[in-house]
Symmetry: C2
Subunit: 230 residues, 2 copies
């Protein structure tokens, strides 16, 4: 699966959050595409990028309850009608559309009656509508709030969640999570220093054992549900 991250952030060099996400993305096999770094959009090249991706993720901070103007400008310029649905062809059909949205405000502010009086999902409705028209599969958005106030443990959790958002097959089910971790674990362990390889291997063995135990429990549960017909 090829993931394309379309980043809109006019002041990315001052953003701790984006730097952190960038490092997380670097560890995965994904393409990081920063719009504000492009002096002049090449419509053909941008459309080609979209055609070759399987999962397309828009990533941006909230500027006045929406993406920064650079993303809207990219939409208005690159997403021609003819590209999205010309001649009954839908080149983005069945590709996945994800949104990673960052904010300096706490998430609890984004609800009716809250300080901001609008929900995250409401703010992203227009982007989702584009995906809907292009016949894409819409993934639940991933909001990241107040990154710089987070403890290190929270940030590490966020890193994993973000990496899963970039590459884990949808939907975000227990089975898909397990498979993703099983695939990632050997790569993580391979990066450990030699002295930690033994511990790493123990973790991998334990994880494999847990998976096997879980599988057995699931089978047992299914048997109970079916009743004792045999």
């Amino acid at each position: 699966m090829k993931t394309l991250i379309i980043v809109a952030h006019p002041e990315i060099e001052n953003s701790q959050t984006q730097e952190f996400l960038y490092q997380g993305a670097q560890a995965m096999n994904v393409e990081w595409h920063h719009l504000d770094a492009i002096a002049q959009l090449n419509v053909e090249a941008e459309q080609q990028l979209l055609r070759t991706a399987d999962r397309i993720i828009f990533q941006f901070p909230l500027y006045w309850y929406a993406a920064p103007a650079s993303l809207k400008d990219w939409e208005d310029t690159v997403l021609t009608r003819n590209f999205i649905y010309g001649d009954g062809r839908f080149p983005l059909a069945n590709k996945e559309l994800g949104i990673v949205v960052t904010t300096g405000r706490p998430l609890k502010d984004f609800r009716h009656g809250g300080t901001e009086n609008i929900t995250i999902d409401e703010m992203l409705a227009s982007l989702r509508a584009v995906g809907h028209l292009a016949q894409m599969k819409i993934l639940p958005a991933m909001p990241i709030a107040q990154f710089s106030y987070q403890q290190e443990a929270e940030q590490m959790q966020l890193l994993i969640d973000y990496q899963r958002y970039l590459t884990q097959p949808a939907p975000d089910s227990l089975a898909n999570r397990e498979t993703w971790f099983a695939n990632q674990l050997p790569k993580f362990i391979a990066k450990l220093p030699a002295a930690d390889q033994f511990t790493g291997q123990l973790i991998a063995d334990t994880f494999a054992q847990n998976q096997a135990d879980l599988e057995q429990l699931r089978d047992a549960l299914n048997l109970l549900k079916e009743g004792e017909e045999d």
Copy 2:
């Protein structure tokens, strides 16, 4: 009441609808402010325009279920946090916020389950949220669909509705409509050629008589509601 129309339209010279609205606005005492014609935004000047207006109207065609990038760029540049709510001051508080949104699609497409699968109000939620934060009074949006397919009579009706949207006091009640028409009628008649002045005066007299009759009917209705207590 001072009305400021902030127009965002990158191809305004090709837009019949905008030309029509422009003519309608010219007949009223309002300010037409076309963002795409501005090479470099002057933040101070833009903020000053907002400060001196009583009713601020955003007017634009739908580009991918939102305003064109030029309006978002204006928001990101002009609406600094410090301007909107710095130091507990809200310079836009109690001003009215209106939105005139044009589309080439029929309005019935904009509903859940329709072709576009998103409502007009949903698309405008982010703009309304800015107004809410700035403590503005939000007016119901005025959508204009498929202007070029309209018959002349519909277009004339639209012209009046638009002019009322620009200048009629809110809410759009029967009483406010009547007062608005009573104020406008002498101006319209004054513009008629000399040969039509007599007819114009007849219309004005009929309108005044209708208003008086309506007033009497209202009084009678109120008496009936109160019962015959005296």
